[in-house]
């Protein structure tokens, strides 16, 4: 990206609950002296009222024709605007949830739905509301940010500035592809991807103004815990040395956990609801909304101030009779401690795995929320699974690793609004240090200095600056190895699925901008017909080279992803002809995985489609 009017490196935190846009002034920044801002995004905050806010709530509201008066939705750059997004969408959605599109991002990584299908809002009546797809919603958010930026910066439009968009580290290749597709369809063809925990670490590096080199040393393992409104994202970053310089290596990322701060507020609201029900007061659905909001404020006060025993909560009436009609209750320290501190961050042993209930056979389409709210259990499982994550890095004592039952982090970086409550961050640190002490390891220290709400957006903008050679880059690469399923040659046995073998096509740690070797195994593709393959990822099999064929594996080793699809167009071949091809993987500069079908001879290449989710014929 070297456009002549590239003045800023822009970072977009495309969050589940809200977006943040930050930018580094490339001309005024020099080395570690970085001039950086967070863009105040103009948005409707009420009908006819436009305000600038640092956060843009990731919501769309699909209004009824008669809901807004003429001109109520006008934007500075679009007087005939009909789209309700951001703050106004969020507040309208509270009273009319059937028209609210929320959590589009979580759907992008949901296996089992087609993200191009128009099904949001889920509960909207089909004949009344023109639904949108998760992909379309994502495009709308990016379009909006682009228009708001361009209006404020007409001479440096967003499409001509280097742009980094953040995604959860746990996003699978298909979800990464969809995010890039959304950026392209919003006219942002230059966008590259960055994992959110890495962005948080970049922000920490930037805010230390060079001081980070004194705060970490070779052999450190930094655990980044990023807990947003809707998701929890874990990453491990190891510090090594090369030619006298510190090097940061992202060695592992956690599973996609749909569990965040919003779940906590809701959990408290239900505790209070049960308490009120015991007193004979039953709440209406709209009161639950008010209660959730009240709990959020009260929770923060209780967790911030250890001297408070209880904080009153008032659920305002909806009518103009405020004094008589409001409901008063209180949230006690005990309730917060039991529900949040012990409920979401229980003191558990390192071997305790997250509990999962078997899903009922007939499930309504919904987001796969984490079944176990115990964040510490998810953390324990992650560290145990990744015990070997640093085994091959220089500067890490393999002896320690062999006796350890889990990977021992030495430093902790918190990110996300949840950790504004010091009690929750302290609990995570306490539990982690209990595990470490039990294995004779020193306690982990906490790295300070990031803005918990804005760090991801800021880190993304800073990353664009770093890519131009102005600072240390975190080495990442694929955090999983990828495998294609091959049906083994075996006589069919009635009632039994044919055995399947997994062929490694993309090894762990493949760097951006590189291609994998061609495996020797060939597949016969029928020209003109699409063929689906089962597709697997593994975040623990670090040593499988391309071509490795696994006959058996445990559930914890390989995770099945959405099927992938190869179609050979009949350009150079006869329809119906069988062409032997091999599958080659590449990681693009942008940060997405690309799979190509390569025939035995000739230069033709066919892209293998990663996003074929349940588009059943």
């Amino acid at each position: 990206m070297s456009s002549e009017n590239a003045c800023y490196s822009i970072g977009i935190d495309l969050g589940t609950t809200h977006c943040v846009l930050s930018y580094v002034d490339l001309q005024q920044s020099e080395r570690e002296e970085v001039v950086q801002h967070v863009f105040a995004i103009a948005q409707l905050t009420n009908a006819g009222s436009i305000d600038e806010k640092l956060a843009f709530p990731s919501f769309l509201y699909l209004p009824h024709d008669s809901e807004f008066a003429e001109g109520d939705l006008a934007l500075p750059w679009h007087s005939n605007n009909k789209l309700v997004a951001g703050e106004l969408a969020r507040t309208r959605g509270v009273s009319t949830p059937i028209r609210l599109v929320a959590s589009a991002k979580s759907w992008l990584c949901h296996s089992g739905v087609d993200c191009r299908a128009q099904f949001l809002p889920l509960d909207a009546p089909e004949d009344e509301v023109t639904k949108v797809s998760p992909l379309e919603a994502t495009i709308q958010y990016l379009n909006y940010l682009r228009a708001a930026w361009d209006y404020a910066h007409p001479s440096t439009p967003l499409s001509s500035q280097p742009l980094t968009i953040t995604i959860p580290a746990s996003f699978d290749p298909a979800a990464r592809d969809l995010t890039i597709e959304a950026a392209h369809r919003a006219g942002l063809n230059q966008a590259i991807l960055l994992e959110e925990p890495q962005a948080a670490l970049y922000s920490w590096i930037q805010s230390s103004q060079g001081g980070w080199r004194k705060q970490v040393k070779v052999g450190d393992i930094i655990l980044v815990i990023d807990m947003g409104g809707g998701t929890t994202d874990l990453s491990l970053i190891a510090v090594t040395e090369q030619a006298g310089d510190l090097v940061l290596n992202r060695v592992a990322v956690g599973d996609h956990i749909l569990l965040g701060g919003d779940n906590m507020d809701l959990a408290l609201a239900y505790v209070i609801k049960a308490k009120l029900a015991a007193e004979g007061k039953n709440l209406e659905p709209w009161q639950i909304q008010g209660l959730t909001q009240g709990c959020r404020v009260a929770k923060e006060q209780l967790l911030m101030n250890a001297d408070l025993a209880a904080v009153p909560i008032v659920v305002p009436s909806r009518s103009s009779k405020l004094i008589g009609g409001s409901l008063r209750t209180e949230l006690t320290r005990e309730e917060v401690t039991n529900t949040l501190v012990n409920g979401f961050f229980p003191e558990v042993g390192i071997q305790e795995a997250p509990k999962s209930r078997p899903r009922t056979a007939l499930t309504k389409i919904s987001l796969p929320y984490a079944q176990d709210a115990g964040v510490t259990r998810h953390l324990a499982a992650f560290l145990v699974r990744q015990v070997q994550a640093t085994a091959e890095l220089n500067g890490f004592d393999p002896l320690i690793n062999h006796q350890a039952s889990f990977l021992h982090p030495t430093a902790l970086l918190f990110n996300g609004g949840v950790f504004k409550s010091p009690a929750l961050a302290e609990r995570v640190q306490t539990v982690l240090n209990q595990w470490l002490t039990a294995e004779g390891a020193p306690p982990a220290r906490v790295l300070q200095g990031v803005d918990l709400d804005l760090a991801v957006g800021r880190g993304a903008a800073y990353y664009g600056y770093v890519r131009q050679g102005n600072g240390v880059r975190i080495r990442g690469g694929l955090a999983s190895a990828y495998y294609v399923g091959i049906e083994g040659a075996m006589p069919a046995v009635p009632g039994m699925e044919p055995p399947i073998e997994a062929l490694c096509v993309a090894p762990f740690g493949m760097e951006e901008g590189t291609e994998a070797d061609l495996p020797t195994q060939e597949f016969g593709l029928v020209v003109g017909e699409s063929v689906r393959f089962r597709f697997f990822g593994s975040s623990v099999r670090r040593d499988d080279p391309v071509g490795t064929l696994l006959e058996t594996w445990s559930d914890t080793e390989l995770t099945e992803l959405e099927e992938i699809e190869a179609t050979l167009p009949a350009d150079n071949y006869q329809v119906g002809e069988v062409v032997p091809v091999r599958l080659r993987a590449a990681v693009t500069e942008v940060g997405t995985l690309r799979l190509e079908a390569v025939p035995r001879s000739g230069d033709a290449r066919w892209q293998v489609e990663l996003n074929v989710r349940t588009r059943e014929e």
Binding site: G48, A69, A74, S95, V297, V314, S320, L322, I323
Partner: protein, 179 residues
């Protein structure tokens, strides 16, 4: 900026008056030429100042914000005599929390004086009478020494939302009808 400065419009009016009316110009020159005198000169008729009513738009906007976030109008318009202090207190929390949010979001405040309240301070001759009000035994000549009773508030920044042209600001809270 301690002396009140005439607005641009006032200055323009003044300029035209001076140009067109020689005797007014002569009158004007005398007091302007002498620096702030210790003995008051005979009052010259002050140039007429434009007194105008303010635009209600911003006031309506602020009222709207206070109503939405803090139920301000609901609270003030309700008859409090029939309720207990506990009931009023519960509602007051809604008003307090919401009003605070509105104030902090849309205004930046700073105290007029940084000193602690109840401390003694001395005001020089050129103190800004529009920012400091003298009370009590107001006699003699500056410098004045007295006790700071209230630090004062100064709004340093106003960030009110922009309004779409033609939007009905008088409706500070729309009636709600649930279907």
């Amino acid at each position: 900026m301690n002396q009140p400065v005439p607005s641009l419009l006032n200055r323009l009016q003044l300029a035209f008056k001076v140009l067109l009316d020689a005797s007014f110009a002569a009158r004007l020159q005398a007091p302007e030429a002498t620096p702030v005198a210790t003995s008051p000169a005979p009052e010259a008729p002050a140039p007429s100042r434009d007194i105008h009513s303010t635009d209600p738009a911003a006031a309506l906007q602020l009222l709207g914000l206070l109503q939405q976030e803090a139920r301000f109008v609901d609270f003030i318009e309700e008859d409090v005599t029939q309720f207990s202090d506990a009931e009023i207190g519960a509602a007051a929390r809604v008003v307090h929390e919401g009003s605070r949010k509105v104030l902090h979001q849309h205004f930046s405040f700073a105290p007029v004086r940084e000193e602690n309240e109840d401390s003694r301070l001395t005001l020089a001759a050129d103190f800004d009478a529009s920012a400091i009000r003298l009370t009590g035994n107001v006699v003699g000549q500056p410098p004045f020494t007295g006790t700071l009773i209230h630090r004062g508030w100064r709004v340093t920044e106003v960030k009110l939302p922009k309004v779409v042209d033609g939007h009905e600001l008088n409706v500070i809270a729309a009636a709600e009808v649930e279907l």
